[in-house]
Subunit: 426 residues, 2 copies
C-alpha cells in the first residue's frame, strides 16, 4: 500500500461530468489498495470569474494593491477551490468511496500573510492522517492556506501544484501525481516542433530551468518544493481514459528525479525552452564606476519591475553599455523610468529598447560535463543567419535573446542539432 497525492487542474474539474470522471480515476487507485489525498483546482474559469467580480468593484488598480483589498481578493478567490473539493467528495461518495473535504484553513495549511502570493510555512498532517487511517480519501483545497492571524491566503496563480507537492512532502507520500492537460514534459513545445518528444524522466534541476524558462507544465514553486523535500513528482495526462490499467498509468507522463542515474548516459541537452513575454532595454554610454548597476536597477526594483537577464560587458574609454530584460507588460513603464530618472542620474548617453525579442534556452544537466555545448548552440543559430543579441548562462542552461521573428526557426534548428527527436540512449 502506497500513499499517493493526486493533483487535478481546472480543466479536469471543468464540469460535473469531468469531476465524476476524476472520482472514478481516484476510486480505481483506492481499489488498488492505495491511500489517496487529492488536491483539485477550481473549476476552469471560476477563479477568473471571481476575480472579475472583484475587479468590477475596485475603481482603480492602486486600490487593488492595499493589504486590506488583497485580503478580500484572497477570501473571494479561495472559494473556487472550496466548491471543487466539496463536489469531488460527493462524487467519490457516489462511487461508494468514503471521502472528506477540507479547506486549507481546516488542515491547517499555514502560510505567511503575503496575500495573493503567500508561501506555505507548515502543514499539520494529523487530521489528514487520521482520515486516511479511517479509510477515507482526503480532498484538500489547492492554492490556499491560512495565515497566523486566521486570514485566508492564496499562493498565486498555479498555486495548486505547490499545494499538492507540499502536502506530499508533509505526508512523506510515495509519489505526487500532477494530472494536467499535457501528457508530460516535452523536449520542447510540440506546437512549434512536431518532432518534440516526451521525456520519461527529467532531473529536478532541468525541470526547474524548464519551468522558469516558460514551459508552463508546472508552477516553478512546486518544482522548488519537490526539490527541497525530494518529493517524487510525476506530470501526466488527465485525458487518458480513467479506466486504463493502473500499471500503465503509474509509469506514464514524466517523472521528476533527484539523483543522476548511474546506469544511464544523461542526454547532453534535455530540452529547449522559450519565452516571448520579455522586452529588452539598454542604457548606452554608462560611466564605468562602482555602484552603477545598483544606480540603474535600484529604481527599477523600487517600481516593482522584475528584471530577468542582465548583461554588462567590459568597458572601453571609461564607458560601458548596460542591458536587461523585463516583462513586456512593464516595457513602457521601464523606458519612462530610465529616461526620466535614471539617465540623468547616472550621466549616461542614451536609452534604447526593443519589445520584439524572445529568449531561447537549451537546458540539460549533461552540459555540466560536456564542453562545447554552448558553442554548438551559437553555431547552429549562426548557420540559420540568426543574430544573437544577449547571452546568459548557468551550469545547466544557456539562454540567448534574439529577434522575436526567429523564435520558431531557432527552436526547430536547436531541437534538431541536439538530436532531441531521438530517444536518449539507454
Amino acid at each position: 500500500m502506497s500513499l499517493i497525492v493526486h493533483k487535478y487542474g481546472g480543466t479536469s474539474m471543468g464540469s460535473t461530468e469531468r469531476i465524476a470522471s476524476v472520482a472514478r480515476r481516484v476510486a480505481k487507485w483506492v481499489r488498488a489498495g492505495h491511500q489517496l489525498v487529492v488536491v483539485p483546482s477550481a473549476m476552469s474559469g471560476e477563479t477568473n470569474r471571481l476575480l472579475g467580480l472583484a475587479k468590477e468593484l475596485m475603481p482603480n488598480a492602486s486600490m487593488a494593491s492595499t493589504p486590506e483589498a488583497l485580503r478580500e481578493l484572497d477570501a473571494v478567490a479561495a472559494t473556487g477551490e472550496q466548491v471543487s473539493v466539496g463536489l469531488l467528495a460527493l462524487a467519490l461518495q457516489a462511487e461508494g468511496v468514503p471521502a472528506v473535504s477540507y479547506g486549507g484553513w481546516q488542515v491547517p495549511i499555514e502560510t505567511d500573510s503575503a496575500f495573493t502570493k503567500a508561501r506555505i510555512r507548515r502543514i499539520d498532517d494529523a487530521r489528514i492522517r487520521a482520515d486516511l487511517a479511517a479509510g477515507r480519501v482526503v480532498i484538500v483545497t489547492g492554492f490556499q492556506g491560512i495565515d497566523p492571524q486566521g486570514n485566508v491566503t492564496t499562493l498565486g496563480r498555479g498555486g495548486s501544484d505547490t499545494s499538492a507537492v507540499a502536502i506530499a512532502a508533509a505526508l512523506k507520500a510515495d509519489e505526487c501525481l500532477i494530472y494536467t492537460d499535457v501528457d508530460g514534459v516535452y523536449t520542447t513545445d510540440p506546437r512549434i516542433v512536431p518532432e518534440a518528444r516526451r521525456l520519461h524522466t527529467i532531473s529536478f534541476e532541468e525541470m526547474l530551468e524548464m519551468a522558469s524558462l516558460g514551459s508552463k507544465v508546472l508552477q516553478i514553486r512546486s518544482v522548488e518544493f519537490a526539490g527541497k523535500y525530494r518529493v517524487p513528482t510525476r506530470v501526466l495526462s488527465s485525458f487518458t481514459p480513467w479506466d486504463i490499467p493502473i500499471k500503465e498509468e503509474a509509469v506514464s507522463g514524466t517523472l521528476i528525479t533527484f539523483e543522476e542515474d548511474e546506469k544511464m548516459e544523461q542526454a547532453v541537452v534535455a530540452g529547449i525552452a522559450f519565452n516571448r513575454d520579455e522586452a529588452k532595454v539598454s542604457i548606452i554610454g554608462v560611466p564605468d564606476r562602482p555602484g552603477i548597476a545598483f544606480q540603474i536597477l535600484g529604481p527599477v526594483a523600487d517600481a516593482n519591475i522584475d528584471v530577468d537577464v542582465i548583461i554588462q560587458n567590459v568597458s572601453h574609454d571609461g564607458r560601458t553599455d548596460f542591458s536587461f530584460t523585463v516583462h513586456r507588460n512593464d516595457y513602457a513603464r521601464t523606458l519612462d523610468l530610465l529616461k526620466g530618472t535614471v539617465l540623468p542620474a547616472v550621466g549616461a548617453a542614451e536609452v534604447l529598447g526593443d519589445a520584439k525579442i524572445c529568449k531561447v534556452s537549451i537546458v540539460g544537466i549533461g552540459m555540466k560535463s560536456h564542453a562545447g555545448v554552448a558553442a554548438k548552440m551559437f553555431r547552429t543559430l549562426s548557420e540559420e543567419g540568426i543574430n544573437i543579441q544577449m547571452i546568459t548562462t548557468s551550469e545547466i542552461k544557456t539562454s540567448v535573446v534574439i529577434d522575436e521573428k526567429y523564435m520558431e526557426l531557432a527552436v526547430r534548428a536547436l531541437h534538431k542539432a541536439f538530436d532531441l527527436e531521438q530517444p536518449a540512449a539507454a
Copy 2:
C-alpha cells in the same frame, strides 16, 4: 453613536452594481456616526447554482441524506456567502470606508453539527468588537457557522436572517435592520388584497405567528431569536434609494416590538396570514382509547413528515375521527403510510384525504383581551358561503382550513371585516 446590524438579501446582492449600492448605503450609516456590522446573503441564484452542481453528482436522493454528503453540501453551499462578504468589503473600501470580511468559522459562529439545518450555539464577539473599535465595518457571512469538530455548517434556507439577528443579540446591537425586497410587514399579501396596509410596528408574538403561517418576510427562527434576546429588529426595503435621508430610512419598514405600548390601543387583529402548501388527511372511525394519537402520529414522525394542524373531536359510540395537515409534498407518502400501516394497527375504518385545501389565519395580540374575535371570523366566512373544515386556535391567532378555491375570497373578506385597511387608532 449606535451599533447597528444590517442584513441584505440575495436580490440586494444580485450584481456588482447592486453590491456597490449596498456599500453606499452602509457608508451613509457609517458617516452618520454609527458602528456597522453587515450580514449579506449569497448573490441571488448562487446557492441554487451550487446545490444544483452538487445534485448532479449524487445518483439518488437517499445519498443526499447521509451525514457525509450533508457535510459536503454545506461546505459547497457556504461558499456563496463567502464570495458576497469579500465583494462587499471591497465595495466599501472603494467607498473609502475601512471594512473587513469574515466567514462564520473565523468569528467564530459556533453551531451544532446538524448539517444543512444547524443551530447557532454561541457567537464569539471579540474579533468583531476589536474591528469595530478600530473603525472598521465588519462584514460576516450569513447562513453558516462552524461545529465543534471544525466542520462548516449551514443554517438552512433563509438562515442569513437568523445569523443577522443572532449577531445583533451577541453584540447587544441597538437595532437589526433586515433589508429585503418588500418594504415591511403588511396586514396581508397586497397581491391578494390591494388595500393591505404596511404595519409600522408588530409585536414579536404576532410576527412569530405571521412568519410561521406563511408570510415569507422573515425566517421564523430569526423571529424566535429576536424574541428570545429582545433584539429590536426592523424589516425594511432595500429598494429605496441608498441616499434617502437617514432619519427617514431609520423609521421606515416595520419594527418588531417586545413590549405592549401602554399608550396605544392595540388593534384587535394585526394581519391575515394564509398558506396553501398543506394537505389534509383524516382517519375515520378510530377506536377512542388512550394512546391512539401517538399510534397514528408516531409512524408519521418516524417517516420525517412534519404535521401542522391536528384535530381530534369528542367521540361517540366509542369511535372518533382524527385529522391533521401535512405539507402538500408529503401528502401521497402520508396517505400510503396511513393506509398501509396505521389503519390496520389502530383498527380504524377508513382514510380520507384532500390536497386542495388552504389555511387562513387571523393574528393579533389584541385577541387576548377581546372576546368574540373568532366568532366574527366564522360569521364573516359564513356570510361568504365558505365552509370551515378545521379550526385551530392559540392565544393570538385563529386558523381555519377551507377549500383552496375560497382562499382569496376569505382573505379579502376578513381583511375588510377587521378594518385592516384603516390605520390602527393611535
